[in-house]
């Protein structure tokens, strides 16, 4: 009996409820309806201060989504480049991509945020939010690079060989054969990274970008209702990530049906 090699890696995204889990009391349902119920209770029976708090937050939610979507777009572009670099036969490109990933993953996101935010300020004058987006995108690009690499690697070598033997060159092969197949494998972890990034955008609150958390902190610093404010902030985040993770799991389910055609 040979030695089995098992590799566990745990994603940073919200736990993705299995769509096959048909039980009435799934953890997702408990969490989701529990969250909804608590929010409803607080708003109905303790409108002061919770109604004030929740009125304070909406534009923070918008900012959070703006930063998330812009950052993930940048991260996907950088990630594709880094991922292609990591599997490239060009030694220099490969090393550059690997080093980028190694360095970015070796430094705490918060430190990188501070660094890019302030260092970037020395070089060019960019608005705060753009600086935050560049910083987040730069960091997540490295993680995304690993996702792309794994996705591309998951496509059977035979596909590449068949494509090459028809006369496609390597980049045409990547474009017409490998990437179109890889995206199905890549989509779920990209979705996970999206959720993880959404959560990590809470860090930009430290750079005074008015996201959900910043809004909450502003409210708390004026009203001194730290406990109540953070309760609401946590519930809002939880609600958003639960909804997103559900959407993601539905999407994955669709995809796997599509595969099984």
């Amino acid at each position: 009996m040979g030695n089995k090699q098992v590799i566990i890696e745990v994603g940073d995204g919200a736990a993705i409820p299995s769509p096959r889990d048909k039980g009435l009391f799934t953890a997702w349902r408990i969490s989701f309806f529990g969250t909804l119920a608590i929010i409803a209770y607080l708003l109905l029976f303790r409108p002061d201060p919770y109604l004030d708090i929740i009125k304070f937050l909406p534009d923070g939610i918008v900012v959070t989504f703006q930063v998330t979507i812009a950052s993930i777009s940048l991260a996907i572009v950088l990630g594709l480049i880094a991922g292609l670099g990591r599997i490239s036969r060009n030694r220099l490109f490969n090393l550059a991509a690997s080093t980028y990933i190694e360095i970015v993953r070796g430094i705490p996101l918060l430190v990188q945020l501070f660094y890019i935010y302030f260092a970037l300020g020395h070089l060019i004058r960019v608005p705060d939010m753009l600086a935050a987006i560049i910083a987040m995108g730069f960091c997540y690009g490295a993680y995304m690079g690993e996702v792309f690499r794994a996705g591309i690697k998951s496509i059977d070598e035979g596909q590449t060989e068949a494509s090459l033997s028809l006369g496609f060159n390597r980049s045409q092969t990547m474009r017409y054969v490998v990437l179109p197949q890889a995206w199905r494998t890549i989509l779920p972890p990209v979705g996970n990274e999206f959720i993880a990034l959404l959560k990590d955008t809470s860090l930009v609150s430290i750079l005074a970008v008015s996201d959900i958390l910043r809004r909450g902190r502003e409210f708390a610093s004026e009203s001194f209702q730290y406990f109540e404010t953070y309760t609401m902030v946590a519930l809002i985040y939880l609600l958003i990530t639960l909804i997103l993770s559900k959407l993601l799991s539905i999407l994955e389910d669709r995809l796997s049906h599509y595969e099984q055609r």
Binding site: F56, G121, R217, E218, F219, S221, Y226
Partner: protein, 215 residues
């Protein structure tokens, strides 16, 4: 950094308001420019100034020798002292009574520097003074040092049941708030100084005192 009530803070309409804001607005009117207020985290507020993210910092910045080396200041517009806040039931009378205890202040403020300068007190820096007040209230630290209007706001209003001002701290010199500008930014400096000069001569200062500080 609008987390410094009553000088500058975000009200429930998400507006940045406070003494400094009103003062600056009036000064700007007098000098003929329109200020745009921007909320920036204190920790890094001077970095943003240095890199030109904004032209001036109007955020209860005390004028200190060290800061003067890094940036230019307008004429002073407000006189402050540092106040020590402690729990209501505490018998502490001065920073010296807090030897070996933790005392909190906002990172990079003169209050925090005062704690660091005090003998035998363990300084603890917070991103926002409000967080320090919270920790004081739950007993993680024994005192908080900050500007006296802010201290008054907390001890008299928000936490009047649990906190009190124990003492004002003599830091040797009188401390004044000034508007900070990037070194060498003469144009803005003159403009701001002109405005402050104009306002300081009016009774609007007393009005503001009444409105925001209540004394």
């Amino acid at each position: 950094d609008a987390t410094w009530p009553p000088m500058e803070f975000v009200n429930s309409d998400k507006q940045i308001v406070g003494y400094s804001i009103d003062y600056m607005t009036a000064a700007a009117k007098a000098a003929g420019f329109t200020p745009v207020f921007k909320n920036v985290a204190w920790d890094g507020i001077f970095a943003g100034l240095a890199t030109g993210k904004y032209d001036a910092v109007c955020s209860s910045v005390s004028i200190t020798e060290k800061r003067k080396k890094a940036m230019d200041f307008s004429t002073p517009y407000f006189k402050v002292r540092q106040a020590l806040i402690v729990a209501k039931d505490s018998s502490v009378k001065s920073l010296a009574d807090l030897k070996g205890k933790k005392v909190g202040g906002q990172i990079g403020t003169t209050g925090y520097f005062a704690i660091k300068a005090a003998d035998g007190v363990e300084p603890k820096s917070y991103d926002e003074v409000g967080l320090a007040m919270e920790d004081l209230k739950v007993g993680r630290i024994a005192g908080v040092v900050c500007d006296d209007p802010v201290a008054a706001n907390y001890a008299m209003e928000q936490y009047k049941d649990s906190l009190k001002i124990a003492a004002t701290i003599e830091t040797g010199e009188v401390e004044y708030y000034g508007i900070a500008m990037k070194k060498g930014n003469k144009e803005t400096l003159e403009l701001v100084n002109k405005g402050i000069e104009a306002v300081s001569k009016t009774s609007y200062v007393q009005e503001l005192q009444q409105k925001w500080i209540g004394q």
